[in-house]
């Protein structure tokens, strides 16, 4: 890993206004989907991002590519600030960063052939002079993702979920990106297909030197593919550590709860372990709890947690956490 990170996200916020009114729109609230997130990803690294549904994972992935206008903050990809560039300059950054979506059925235009879908990024970025060369490149990409190039003239509905996800990956690769946001790329797939797609992503990373932000809620899959893992709760970061460190020595009670929810394929071990079970749902991001956002569901919440926002600090070298209990040493 080089010294300078490829992707740098600084204090990114994304608030969605909730408006009402027929003609004159008034803002009646603010959904703080992402509320100040900062992280960086080194070249060739895979950063996992985990958290429950509704904690802002997908919003982070989409906002950092400029798909939603960010409320504040900056995202630098390979030296270019993607959120503040316009026109041609923004197009240049877009070529370097791509996204793979969760739903392989919604992410491919049903009216376009696979060939048109895969060559679209090449057309937009004017990568080849002729349509023939683009089709040739699409052929190569089909081979690369394990699909038969003879299927280029078919429509997405003629493929299975796993094959469609491969088409989505081929499209993401078409502009020769450096960085790919994988937004739960396997959650919608059959378990037997999940492993194939993850293997494909890993193989492509090795071959092409890609950098991934891998969004998931399946912690065992994250452990398999990621180098570092970031835990998100209600739009804020709660813990960030190297994969093995996080899985073996989780500090934040939320991370512990997530990890204890991972099934162990051995009933005896599973019964023997101590599980932290969270009650209730994630509170509404419309009105997040003050202090530490997790205090309403935290098994070890103290008075200070309700009042003060815990500081993001390096508890163990390269292991960051935001928790009052960790600061005072009362982690159990």
């Amino acid at each position: 890993m080089s010294d300078k990170p490829l992707v740098e996200v600084q204090d990114m916020k994304k608030h969605f206004p909730v408006s009402s009114g027929l003609i004159i729109q008034r803002n009646v609230g603010l959904v703080r989907a992402v509320d100040g997130v900062s992280f960086s990803i080194a070249k060739g690294e895979t950063l996992g991002m985990v958290g429950e549904s509704g904690c802002g994972k997908t919003t982070v992935g989409r906002t950092m590519l400029g798909l939603y206008p960010a409320t504040s903050g900056s995202v630098t990809i390979d030296g270019d600030d993607i959120l503040h560039l316009k026109g041609r300059d923004q197009l240049r950054v877009r070529r370097k960063a791509q996204i793979i979506f969760q739903d392989p059925y919604a992410s491919l235009n049903p009216r376009w052939t696979v060939s048109a879908i895969i060559s679209e990024p090449m057309r937009v970025h004017k990568l080849f002079a002729t349509e023939k060369e683009r089709t040739e490149r699409a052929r190569e990409l089909m081979n690369l993702v394990g699909l038969n190039p003879r299927l280029l003239n078919r429509f997405p509905h003629e493929f299975s979920g796993g094959q469609r996800q491969r088409i989505g990956i081929a499209r993401a690769l078409a502009s020769d990106p450096l960085f790919i946001v994988c937004d739960e790329p396997i959650s919608a797939l059959d378990v037997s297909i999940q492993a194939q797609v993850v293997d494909l992503l890993e193989e492509l990373q090795d071959r092409l030197g890609l950098t991934y932000l891998f969004i998931a809620h399946d912690l065992s899959m994250v452990r398999h593919i990621c180098d570092r893992v970031l835990v998100l709760y209600l739009g804020v970061m709660v813990e960030l550590a190297d994969r093995d460190e996080l899985y073996e020595n989780p500090l934040h009670p939320y991370t512990k709860a997530l990890l204890s929810a991972v099934p162990i394929p051995d009933p005896r071990k599973d019964r023997a372990r101590k599980r932290t079970i969270l009650t209730g749902d994630v509170p509404s991001p419309l009105n997040p709890p003050g202090g530490c956002r997790f205090h309403t569901r935290c098994p070890i919440a103290m008075d200070v947690c309700k009042k003060e926002v815990p500081e993001w600090r390096e508890a163990v070298p390269s292991h960051f956490v935001a928790c009052h209990a960790v600061e005072t040493g009362k982690t159990e």
Partner: protein, 314 residues
Amino acid sequence: MTTHTPSIPQLAEDLATPPLTLSQLGWLRFRRHKMALVGVVIIIFLFLFAFGGALIYSEQYANYTDTSLRLLPPSAEHPFGTDTIGRDILARTIYGGQISLFIGIVAVIIETLLGILVGALAGYYGGWVDSLLMRITEALLNIPTIFLLLVMAKFFGGQVPEIDIGGRVFSGSVIVIVVIIGATSWMYLARIVRAEFLSLKENEFVLAARATGTSNAQIIFLHILPNTFAPIIVSSTLSVANAILSEAYISFLGLGVQAPTATWGNMLDSSANYLDSAPWLWFFPGMLILLTVLSINFLGDGLRDALDPRSRTV
């Protein structure tokens, strides 16, 4: 996770049939739609009737008046009979058909373009663009269409001079009617298109295009619009019928296509006083309107099914 040896699995997808193009698939599906095929045949027949018939009967003959021959029932000499001032109804339905089909098709083209433009901009951009365009649309919808048509026909009528196309003179009123029918009927289509855009723009394939850097215009016209063809085609085919009928209303109230130029609509209306005594006055233009409307609707149904790539039946 178990350790998999990273390899790209070869999928069994070598199918026996060669890939079909979109048009081939569409034709295969369309062909199964028997009523749509009947519709196409009838439409071809109607065009042959209106444009081929003009080779047999001259326009002078269609407008030739002889009151001694008034209200003759169908006979060998006048297969469709004659009207109240002795003109041959067959010849008039031929020339009227040209005008009616022209009005129906061109008005719908105008309507569809306006509807798509307004609906697409409102649905895609949302926010104040949407509010503004939709309030205008609703305001126009709240004015009774017939009133709007009449006011516009009165206001613009006579302002367009006669035009000469290929040696034939068309009344400027035809152009006026086409434009005002198109301009007063796009609102429903705009709402349909807007609704489609609202739901389609949230699809991940649109986000993928934006992530790639595709321009808004390309996203609107190449990504989203083709996915809204089905409701647009259905709505537009119905509108052809409505446009032909709208022309009939206006002509009936004296503001439409001016005599002696015939249209199916104004022929139908001039027969209002002879419903019992001379049924051939309304039967032939009425049948032609009915056939046109029905066959265009069948065609629309067939196209909708044929153009939907999600339908798996071939």
